[in-house]
Symmetry: C4
Subunit: 202 residues, 4 copies
């Protein structure tokens, strides 16, 4: 599902043979908002995909509640190609562009909340193979709430200025890719535990 959504992101790229200038012009002038939005969306979905993969491998118990929480997350993931295409359509300029970036940020807020709900579910009733120590629960939750606050902020910023709102989201993506230092408590443990398994990410 992540795979399908991430592949469909690239569907927004279209080349026109006539009436839109040379290919070089189209690639560098017309398509840059699509490429930019593609890049941010690709890594945002990719980060959630990686985190989801690492989290799911830790889970010892699969029940219907987890499957429905997963559906809630995926409902937002599936909307991201549409939100990405909308941002690219309005090219970060004008009143509609402000709405488009706010809508785009709202999808990330939903995706983040959906992932947080699955994470919260794993903390209880021995649902993880190697339970997270209780003292690590609140730091992890605070990180999720912190992420949510940033997305809320980016909605507000986007409604004032589309470029600034989009820049906040791009910075969040860069932060999440760079951030995964071995010292970070919760992810590091997942990573250590994850070395026992063998998997393909296809």
């Amino acid at each position: 599902m992540f795979a399908v959504a991430i592949t469909l992101l690239a569907f927004d790229f279209t080349i026109h043979r006539t009436g839109y200038g040379t290919l070089a012009y189209q690639l560098t002038h017309d398509l840059w908002p699509s490429f930019l939005a593609y890049l941010v969306s690709f890594f945002m979905i990719g980060i959630i995909w990686v985190n989801h993969h690492v989290l799911i491998r830790q889970i010892a118990v699969v029940d219907r509640t987890l499957l429905f929480l997963n559906l809630g997350l995926l409902m937002f993931v599936v909307l991201i190609p549409f939100a990405t295409s909308t941002v690219a359509t309005y090219r970060l300029a004008g009143a509609d562009a402000r709405v488009s970036v706010a809508f785009y940020a709202a999808m990330f807020l939903g995706m983040s909340a959906g992932f947080g709900a699955i994470f919260e579910w794993t903390l209880h009733e021995n649902r993880r193979e190697q339970p997270l120590p209780a003292e690590a629960h609140w730091p992890a939750r605070i990180r999720f709430v912190g992420g949510g606050v940033v997305y809320l902020l980016s909605i507000g910023v986007a409604l004032l200025n589309a470029v600034a709102g989009f820049a906040v989201l791009a910075l969040v993506a860069v932060y999440y890719i760079v951030e995964r230092t071995p010292q970070a408590p919760a992810p590091a443990q997942d990573e250590a535990a994850g070395t026992a398994g063998n998997t393909t990410a296809e």
Copy 2:
């Protein structure tokens, strides 16, 4: 397959840069029938996906008959993005809208019948790892037939009134999400047995 079908649901959303009003107007006025139909279809496919996943994990024997029954189910699942798009096109108003909702309900009837056929197949010849006790067969069957009657009813209601027919289907989706109480006999056993396995829903 469920993943591909559920992702393609969101393909129906399109933003027009010019001639259709502001983005905010399009999102709130033009796209609401698409969003509404998306939501109902997303959870309908999601519920079947979850139930299919839980049922398949219980199966001890895979033969060609099961694979072909699966194909029968998937034939309807794959048509749901088209039926969803048709409902959104006619916006729940007028004679065509009544036909569109009836057609949409017919796809859910087919999906439900396809799932019921797989369920029936699992009841016989020790095809489940933990066979369902014989006294639970008829209550489970009655639930399936009951679901089928509701879909048939919704086809009839839709032909009289598109909004009412769609509302019946939306209520069915809400019912299936809320309904899975631990006391329900057949699903509860699946759920308990399912805790031994570990799986991702991607």
Copy 3:
């Protein structure tokens, strides 16, 4: 991959809100060639999917040759949505329709040859977990060659009459679904051996 191809088949269905008559008229008059071609393609891909699944489970050794033979098969599977759409476009009437059905049949011929090549590969060097007895090799091969001859024939028939050519292909699909009697030598053994495994067809 089979899942993606089979889901994309339904992408050919489009409803026009204005200028094409009522929805009921479009569903019953305009879309029947699409529905018909969809049905045949769906079951043709489905049959190969089921057979491929049963065959792959029997394989003890995976090497690069097998992976490339798989690619060869998939090259034709991936073209079937396009060929299906082409058949639906020309609606089984006129000179173009004859070419469209011949092209469609050629894709099935390629798919069948690709599957036959994988099957042939499994016969040698203990590549199956339970090797097929030598005396069953030639009957199985003859069945494959027989299928190939029927597809060749359907290309010829299609070039004379589109409806007749399409009917031959539809009959092949029906035959393959009905045919899998327990007495059939090769598939029956696969089926018996297959009962040990547990798998999902998603």
Copy 4:
């Protein structure tokens, strides 16, 4: 993901019922650039898919770095349907065609670099189940760098002559399919080790 990208390649084929000549004419005159580009892209993605599959099965340790390296590879894989469609649009003739083939070659360069990064990652810290002997590291790296040089060259050639640039890429695809001789050091070992596992390529 590879499966979705490879299936979407065929989406570029479109038949026009009127105004574009007969179907036979369209298939043989209008669509040949699409078919040609489809074939090359199909086998290029297929080769990376097979190699990726063989490499991943060798991996004993999965961590976040590997998952992000995978994302880097997939970012280019996902762009290949768009690059393929662009090449087909300009039909290998004119200034735009030269840019289109150079862009297409750049995607393969990115895909190759992404795969090389994953391969390099597997060489260190016992990340392979059967570590590659140290003396095989440099020959393998030289092969990757050699591949990269050929792609760089094809970008240069394409900017001078679209047909020649495309021919270089087609030859690379043919070379990779034919090349996998059992004597080749690194792949041969993967292949031998790979015979222990059983997998489907769906």
